[in-house]
Assembly symmetry: C2
Homo-oligomer: 720 residues x 2
């Protein structure tokens, strides 16, 4: 048994020594590297406070954020940390406290029925949803494992039989509707059940965790590894849940590797576990996860899941780029893997994380669409264009095919609302997803993509969306003209739309330009709306808005439109512009939409009886009664405002004209800058890489190969 638990706690590359039998002397704490020493100190403060407060294992009552919820969370952390502290220090009080806590659960747990605050999730025993029970078990096993061999046999038996095993049974045979899914809740359940199985030496539990309750392999952990990540390690539900899902994947994988090294779990499916960790780091900006689908905007790499993931991935790869992430995190885990990270970081072995453009294929085969990240700098907080051409993402997916976001040094510029939820805030419906998560946050109009006839994609039915992939048609990840081209057919019954998003680096401009060419084609006549949700304060516009100054109507009745206040509506012939300011930078959004387009300035927050929504601005381009429509838009970041130095430069746009026309089977866009120079961008309908194309501009023939041609035309001549 000693071997099992030692391995369980060890990083994959560490020797499987029976650490519990030979606890380190207390004085050794002084030799820890700073990052690990800080964790040990923090854990000691927490656990010592818990010891002083005494064992508190309340009868479950409250939903998320309520007292019993938070107390059981504190307890599993105390069990985890207390176990590690005992392993590290050998101090008896840690062993005693963890034992006493677990014995209190041994009294409580067997008598519990479904949680009284259960809502629309599967109820747990300790928590309102069984998911949290799984998290409890994953943590508790790791803490218990560190003290188990040192316990009196009777105590060990009581905890085994009244806590660990019944929890594992509840989460496996007792909850087939959870563990049998291909879903992150099931991964947590598998990890808890599997860890418990290794600890108890219970092969049945381990096999059910790995291969499903029927051990057929149609469900279970390995099947989840097959189906939940794309071959690029992208998790179908999006970055927020990728983060969340990661912890049980890496912790259970490390345990499998330690207990059954012959499985070579880190090489499974071409190294999918480690790919998933790398991709999780890539789907961030400035350390914060891109808030696609249901997502809290304040989640960063500074979370428990990523401390585990980085420590385990570093142990498995020794890639020094993980160390720089650990340095940014400023935290690690209390396990031997965390200690290694801290030691090698202190030795200066870290290298910068190589942030770069990526095309993350989505779906189990990687061919159901993609999440495309275009970056112009190898920098955590530099320009980042995100094209969300991915799959639906199950129940947490939003109706936002071909959505885009833009980030740069000022933060999120073209934004995603994320989820309508106040995590763990009891007064906000127990911290659960709010009604506005369905009525607003997941609706198409809450995103930066095409809305047809004021309906959400797939009529707002995610199960319908699950059946329809997105087509990623082409992409270029490097050079001065990075781009993504994708198409979705089936989001609307009779409208297909295609979008090219391009990141153009231009000599003489400090920031890239973002060009967006969106073309909808369909039968019949439709209302086409293209919203842009942005962050910042409106500076000015050349659109003459009819402002709603003293009464503010609502834009529509349903599908998210009921949540939009109208601030103004206007038209403009030719190119139109809206400029806003965020932080130290200005952003001009230039539009060359179809003739007759109206521009509507809105703000979220209408029909929100409980003040659940944030109030954020958007600009909607609207065309009525069209069969086809092409929206050409250009985002231009410019200028600098410096509050300290009281200087402002380039507060007006450098782009003076934006023109668009069809040239044969291609869209030609001409961008004119203030110095008179022009950039011609041509996007062919034929996306074949080898196809040759040409157009004529100002009597000059421009020829290119592949879907995108770009020609920088000086004032008096042309250069490629």
């Amino acid at each position: 048994m000693t071997r099992t638990l030692a391995l369980l706690l060890a990083a994959a590359t560490l020797p499987a020594v029976p650490v519990v039998a030979q606890p380190a002397p207390a004085a050794s704490a002084q030799t820890y590297a700073p990052l690990f020493a800080a964790e040990v100190d923090r854990a000691k403060r927490d656990v010592d406070a818990s010891i002083r407060a005494g064992v508190n294992v309340p009868v479950p009552k409250d939903p998320g954020g309520g007292f019993t919820h938070e107390q059981h969370k504190r307890n599993y952390r105390t069990i985890f940390e207390g176990g590690q502290l005992y392993r590290l220090t050998g101090e008896r009080r840690y062993l005693d406290h963890v034992r006493d806590l677990l014995l209190a659960y041994a009294d409580l747990y067997p008598g519990l029925g479904p949680h009284p605050a259960a809502a629309n999730q599967v109820p747990g025993r300790l928590f309102w949803q069984s998911l949290n029970d799984s998290v409890f078990l994953v943590n508790a096993v790791q803490g218990y494992g560190a003290i188990r061999d040192a316990l009196a046999p009777a105590d060990r038996k009581r905890i085994d039989d009244n806590v660990i095993r019944p929890m594992a049974r509840f989460l496996s045979d007792g909850s087939p509707e959870v563990i049998g899914r291909i879903h992150n809740h099931a991964t947590w359940a598998c990890a808890g059940v599997g860890l418990a199985g290794y600890l108890l030496g219970d092969r049945d539990l381990v096999d059910k965790a790995l291969k499903g309750l029927d051990k057929s392999g149609k469900t279970g952990f390995l099947r989840q590894l097959d189906l939940l990540f794309s071959p690029d390690g992208y998790y179908a539900e999006g970055p927020y849940y990728q983060r969340y899902a990661l912890q049980p994947f890496v912790v259970f994988a490390a345990a499998i590797d330690a207990n059954e090294p012959e499985r070579r779990i880190f090489e499974y499916r071409d190294g999918i576990v480690l790919k998933a960790v790398r991709t999780a780091i890539d789907v961030t900006h400035d350390g914060f996860f891109l808030p696609l689908n249901d997502a809290m905007r304040d989640k960063s790499l500074r979370t428990e899941e990523l401390y585990h993931a980085v420590a385990i991935a570093y142990g498995a790869t020794k890639d020094p780029a993980f160390l720089s992430i650990a340095g940014w995190q400023g935290h690690t885990v209390l396990t031997p893997a965390g200690e290694t990270v801290a030691t090698e970081l202190a030795a200066g072995k870290q290298k910068p994380w190589p942030f770069a453009s990526r095309l993350l294929g989505d779906g189990p085969d990687g061919k159901q669409g993609a999440l495309v990240l275009l970056r112009s700098k190898a920098d955590a907080s530099g320009p980042l264009l995100v094209a969300k051409n991915s799959v639906q993402g199950m129940g947490h997916g939003h109706f936002d095919r071909l959505n885009w976001l833009y980030y740069d040094e000022t933060g999120a510029v073209v934004t995603d609302y994320g989820a309508a939820r106040f995590l763990n805030v009891e007064a906000k419906r127990g911290g659960r997803y709010l009604p506005e998560n369905d009525s607003w946050a997941s609706a198409t109009v809450a995103h930066n993509t095409l809305v047809v006839d004021e309906q959400s994609h797939f009529a707002g039915d995610w199960k319908a969306g699950e059946k329809v992939p997105t087509r990623q048609l082409a992409a270029a990840l490097d050079g001065p003209t990075r781009y993504s081209i994708a198409e979705i057919a089936g989001a609307y019954k009779d409208v297909t739309f295609r979008r090219a998003l391009l990141m153009l680096e231009v000599d003489g401009l400090a920031n890239p330009l973002i060009l967006d060419i969106l073309r909808g084609t369909g039968g019949g006549r439709h209302r086409y709306d293209l919203p842009l949700h942005f962050s910042g304060h409106i500076i000015d516009s050349d659109i003459a808005f009819d402002r709603k100054l003293a009464e503010r109507p609502v834009l529509g009745k349903a599908n998210g439109y009921q949540h939009l206040w109208v601030d103004g509506e206007g038209t403009k012939a030719g190119k139109a512009r809206l400029t806003w300011m965020q932080g130290s930078r200005f952003y001009s959004y230039h539009m060359a939409p179809p003739a007759g387009t109206r521009f509507i300035v809105t703000e979220s927050g209408a029909n929100d009886p409980e003040f659940n929504l944030r109030r954020e601005p958007a600009l909607i381009q609207r065309v009525d009664g069209a069969a086809d429509a092409t929206f050409v838009s250009l985002l231009e970041p410019h200028g600098e405002y410096d509050a300290s130095a009281e200087t402002t430069v380039a507060s007006s746009a450098r782009v003076t004209a934006l023109e668009h026309r069809r040239e044969g089977d291609a869209a030609l866009v001409l961008i004119t800058l203030i110095d008179g120079s022009r950039i011609a961008v041509v996007v062919a309908d034929d996306v074949a890489a080898a196809a040759k194309h040409s157009v004529t501009v100002d009597g000059r023939a421009l020829a290119w190969t592949g879907p995108v041609g770009r020609f920088d035309l000086a004032r008096t001549g042309a250069k490629k």
Copy 2:
């Protein structure tokens, strides 16, 4: 002449050596302390770029933020920095470039008339307002002084006669309506004129700067020192302008001290210049100036003015607390005073700035009211209650007598809108104050103080307000019960109001409670509105609001009310509560207002045709038809939300009851906490420090001396 210019540049305590005649060798740059070395490097980058770009002295045309405006600003910085670099390095190119710039101004300046973009300010020659011309001269003299002795006599004469002297003449005899005021614009003019006088050896200019154009002493720098600061060094226009005004005060004072040490200028009026610097640092939170009156919220101690002020004040005092401010600033000035700061900071001599509660008397005699700062920690970003019981503050003053603000570790909690302005953003009316600065930002309803009959104080006439001081009646700056009591009579014709603001530290609560007792007494029947402007997202309330869900009316017609959207209106018997969340903390605002009070939730932003306003929430307590009214409110910061750890504690309030009644000539407030303990706070009408009072609570006699009594009553007993 060498002596004059050397002294001009030297900190007060440095020897007056002729540094220009013996420039330091270039290699010495490597020996600078880091803070100064960084400034030298930055200045070299700037000036070398200016040298490469060549001399560019355009004909003045644009308003603030426009090209010619920014170019002339760049030029005076280049002159200042280039001069210092020549002094430090002796490198010829710096001398040549500064000379060439000044010679270009010698060609341009004499032919200039009033600036073409002049608006409602006195026009300058180079800039749209003469203020900027003064700033130009203050900088240019300091740069020119560093090269002047090294110039060929003909060049020196041209610059003296065609730039420095005519500028000084324009800003003195040529602008009596500016330099003759008691106002920060006049201080800048005096500083420019006086520095020019010392440099040119022109006693007439110096005397006019010191004592006014008629040399009577009724105006001029010394009179400004008498009248613009209170004896505590508080500047009547408020913190934002205190910062702005500081630079000419300290720079000119340092020059006076160097050139006429016998004036003992740093001892003038009990050391008013240094008091002003200390007070400027005190009127900040987390390094940012409190945005009282017309103020940009993004102004911090990291500004040029404060780099000069800190360097000069450190030179004059050697107080090591200034060094910690310099460390926070991360910048210093290129002068010898800045070099000393950098050297001694590098030597580790700094001490923390002693942030503490302060009562800053306002008005020239310090008896026209006060700004009261109550702090519970000696910490730049800890809890801070601000009671604005000060004078009107001239044309930049807002109509907000007895206003209050609250800050803590999450930032501004109870807020002030500051100014409606986008500094230097040309599209926003040239960067000037916007119409909404008058119609909204300065209106009483935009503040957290009493509005009677929807009118601003003094009917919105600042000149009327100038005549009426505020009465600071009592204050306690230390201990667990800090407070301020003040009264204003005359803001409304027939209503006087008094406000007690108390910061209560309570055993067992992590954050202080803020208690507010505001009592209006008047003849006739009135509408009393008490707004609270706060920062954060509404979590919940026990008020049943009639929500304006699908159409949003405007609250009123004028005096700022036209800018308020109504989100909902409701009533509640007994105590009412609104809870919001900001960052990691929750805030519950408990109210025990007069019977019949309605509660209105609003947001700024209505009737704002140019999108000039930020949209910020407020809660208004409204009583109609009352002669007298007492509003008792309690702000309770509580709980903690941790996004990384996914934990939330104490998201609901600890305060369960708030009661208020008159007991004889005192207001008795009873605060009940969730554990059943109570706090009794009694505020007597008689504010005499020696007056003895008593009340009876639950049959127990509570006696105290002075205006405020506080009694912490345990569940089953009482303790003082």
